[in-house]
């Protein structure tokens, strides 16, 4: 018999998209996906029966430690404005800012999980000009819980980043906590189970990447890195290995990876879907590749590009199917 592992879920300055993504977890839904690991929802703003006074009593019990919270899941950025009051988000029915509730419950929780890039790093609400003084739970200088925060089990905030995160990242991180009370994290607090990969791994456009046969316009089949802003070679995530909503991914959907699992993704400094370049060379090269080698290999592979790959890179469907080169002898 597995000991029940209780989750309390709060929505801070969020769009609710992390919940919506999680609702399709493993094609069975969040509740069933978690139940397999003995994880139950103490309360969730979208899914639980309790509303109003009944919901409030659960939150109060959690904030005073009267009820055990194994994981406090926070979706959304902590809105600390205006002027440090937190009044950009008052927890309805309580008159108190959501930031206060998060702090109070986090103080008793065995683990604190930041669901999505807003909670993990600030995300879109923290984008320039950050009108609500949105901050992360535990990233950057002004985080809500501070750099020294540790959950009761001793871990820092677990940053299940992504906008929205893959439901599998969330379910598996929570399952790992339920099973082992631990979770291997990278230097930014992201579970290594997904953060040790790059979104580029398994990209369906791999042949176009290899030959630097690049898309020029939306709907072209070519590689999105050179012109259309794709950051998959720098972005942590197993997006193209495990796939989204069945068999999808951003790059398969025909558009750039915007590195949504990383801090600051919301302010790329250039349009999201244009590749920033200096002297014709993309600024954001693969994460750990020497620049000179990249340029040399790119030049070489461009000169070796088969006609088929070049033609198909600039079309929205296959113009020339793969075939052996005609034999030189007739």
């Amino acid at each position: 018999m597995i000991t029940p592992f209780s989750i309390l879920w709060l929505q801070a300055g969020s769009c609710g998209g992390c919940t919506m993504s999680a609702l399709a977890a493993d094609d069975v839904g969040l509740v069933r996906a978690l139940a397999r690991f003995g994880i139950r929802l103490l309360w969730h703003p979208s899914l639980s029966e309790e509303t109003g006074a009944e919901a409030l009593s659960i939150l109060e019990d959690a904030a005073t430690g009267r009820v055990r919270v194994d994981a406090l899941c926070v979706e959304g950025a902590a809105l600390t404005g205006p002027n440090g009051t937190g009044r950009f988000q008052i927890m309805s029915g309580t008159g108190k800012p959501v930031t206060q509730w998060i702090k109070a419950i986090a103080a008793h929780a065995r683990h604190v999980v930041a669901v999505g890039s807003c909670a993990a790093f600030g995300g879109i609400p923290a984008g320039e000009t950050n009108p609500t003084d949105a901050v992360a739970l535990q990233y950057g200088d002004n985080s809500l819980l501070g750099a020294d925060f540790r959950g009761q089990a001793g871990l820092p905030v677990i940053n299940v980043a992504g906008c929205a995160p893959h439901p599998g990242w969330l379910v598996e991180s929570l399952a790992e906590l339920a099973l082992s009370d631990r979770c291997a994290l990278d230097s930014l607090g992201r579970p290594r189970a997904f953060a040790d990969h790059l979104a580029h791994h398994g990209c369906g456009r791999n042949e176009f990447y290899e030959f630097k046969a690049s898309a020029a316009r939306p709907s072209d089949r070519g590689c999105l890195m050179e012109n259309l802003g794709c950051k998959a070679t720098q972005a942590p995530g197993d997006c193209n290995i495990r796939r989204w909503n069945g068999h999808g991914s951003c790059t398969d959907g025909g558009y750039a990876c915007i590195n949504c699992t990383s801090p600051g993704f919301q302010d790329p400094g250039a349009p999201f879907t244009e590749t920033a370049k200096v002297a014709g060379i993309p600024v954001g090269l693969p994460v750990d590749m020497p620049k000179a080698w990249f340029i040399a290999l790119a030049a070489l592979s461009k000169s070796a590009t088969p006609k088929r790959v070049r033609a198909n890179a600039h079309a929205d469907h296959v113009i020339i199917p793969p075939a052996r080169l005609p034999s030189k002898q007739s």
């Binding site: 919901a55 609400p125 879907t273």
Partner: protein
């Protein structure tokens, strides 16, 4: 507040998308007046200002995780309006498929997870239908959710195929879509739709989608409902419960309806007190009287007399209800006109949402067959440095508008009015309540209730999306 009245504040109000607080003035077991508070402000209109216009395609969908595609389409249409861009047929078909998939999935999520679990509460234990309702709709474990949540997840494979993922895709562009569909993918889309149809026909409707889509009068609805036992399918169970509880009288809205029109299936327009007229975006204004806003994008948390972050959109000074009922009523659908004859009700809103779900899936099958692999899905749409345009969409829960103004090649102003901004707006300068505030007046409380169930039915019948509301 008169001496005999009391005030009741309800929150956290869950099973709505986002944050909501409702304050009721009660007297003699009835709601005398209601104030609806949207307690979350994030400042998307401020965040969008100054950015390159195409960045709206990344930022705007992230206003909302449940209307993400609707926000994408509105942004793309606002850009297209400025660029003067058209769209190839394939681009339009795929855009419509992705938007319809979101609307259909949202309708299902609302019914199964947000709205129906209220009938499974112990409060109703004395009703003859209670055990059935509890078995099927108890939050976090009802049989219907066990079946239809997985069906919804598999239906969203359509998003994986066409939009890469859901929510928050970049596939929807001013000139079409980024993803071409080949002949094999077209077949896979039809397979996904066939599975979803089967799930709806088995569990939700216990009948053919075509039969549900053809229900065109109150008499037809009653006779369909009576043609089988009341527990045959979840739609019939709902009609049975609605009949028992009088949901056709509960939550009467302002009898003014607004639709931006959608898919070429339902035209744009308004119907005010039974009179139809065209919808003109320039007649819409946002009243800030009760909003913690000192200007269209300047928050002021200390503003006197304000009680919500939500602005109050008004069309020539009047509040309007929007949503599936409004879409059908504006389109002249006879059942919608009958059920909403004196204003929307809990019954009317839910019935038209489910009938629309059936109609959407049928339409999606047709659009998928019309896709022509090998022909273009997207055209480029270069933007001028300045200009202004509207992007009008129907999200699942109603009319969504983006007004984009460019100057010097970047966004000067971005103004968003979401469906629930209309439905859950606060009082305006003349003191007129928003549609929900009006619909709550007269709701009755049962003895000892701290969170009145009638109020919950009314609030959830609008399928509110609070994150869109304030943005």
């Amino acid at each position: 507040m008169s001496p005999s009245s009391t005030r009741l504040i309800i929150g956290p109000f869950n099973r709505v998308e986002g944050d909501l607080e409702v304050t009721l003035e009660l007297s003699a077991g009835q709601v005398q007046s209601a104030r609806v508070t949207a307690p979350l402000y994030r400042g998307f209109e401020q965040i969008l200002a100054g950015r390159p216009p195409e960045d709206a395609l990344v930022i705007a969908p992230r206003i909302c995780g449940i209307c993400s595609v609707s926000q994408s389409v509105a942004a793309a249409r606002a850009i297209a309006a400025i660029a003067g861009a058209g769209m190839p047929d394939n681009g339009r078909l795929v855009t419509d498929l992705v938007l319809a998939a979101e609307n259909a999935a949202d309708h299902l999520t609302h019914f199964v997870l947000f709205f129906m679990p209220d009938f499974a509460r112990p409060l109703y234990a004395g009703r003859p239908w209670f055990e059935t309702a509890r078995r099927r709709f108890a939050a976090e474990g009802g049989q219907t959710a066990q079946t239809l949540v997985p069906a919804r997840a598999r239906f969203l494979h359509l998003m994986g195929l066409l939009a890469g993922k859901w929510p928050h895709s970049l596939a929807l562009q001013p000139g079409g879509v980024t993803k071409g569909v080949d002949s094999g993918e077209r077949i896979r889309l039809l397979a996904i739709l066939a599975d979803f149809r089967a799930a709806l026909e088995t569990t939700l409707f216990a009948d053919r989608l075509e039969t549900i889509a053809a229900l065109d009068s109150v008499a037809a609805l009653h006779s369909w409902s009576a043609a089988a036992a009341w527990d045959q399918g979840d739609f019939r169970l709902f009609l049975h419960i609605a009949d028992d509880l009088g949901l056709e009288r509960l939550g009467r809205g302002p009898n003014r309806f607004l639709s931006h029109g959608s898919f070429g299936l339902w035209p744009a327009g308004i119907v005010a007190e039974g009179v139809a007229a065209p919808f003109l975006p320039r007649h819409v204004s946002e009243d800030l009287t009760s909003a913690w806003m000192e200007g269209p994008t300047q928050p002021d948390a200390d503003k006197d007399g304000a009680y919500s972050w939500c602005k109050a959109p008004r069309l020539e000074g009047r509040s309007f209800e929007t949503g599936a009922l409004a879409r059908h009523l504006v389109a002249g659908d006879p059942l919608a006109r009958a059920l909403g004859a004196n204003g929307g009700t809990v019954l009317a809103r839910v019935v038209l949402r489910l009938i629309e779900l059936a109609r959407l899936v049928i339409a999606m099958e047709g659009w998928t067959k019309q896709i022509r692999p090998g022909e273009p899905f997207c055209v480029e749409s270069p933007l001028p440095l300045r200009g202004s345009g509207f992007g009008l969409v129907e999200a699942a829960r109603g009319a969504l508008s983006h007004r984009l103004t460019l100057e010097g090649g970047s966004i000067r102003e971005y103004a968003i009015i979401a469906p629930t901004t209309w439905n859950f707006s606060p009082r305006d300068a003349t003191g007129n309540p928003g549609p929900l505030e009006q619909a709550l007046e007269g709701a009755t409380l049962q003895a000892g209730e701290t969170t009145p169930i009638a109020v919950q039915h009314i609030v959830r019948s609008f399928d509110p999306c609070m994150v869109c509301t304030v943005h």
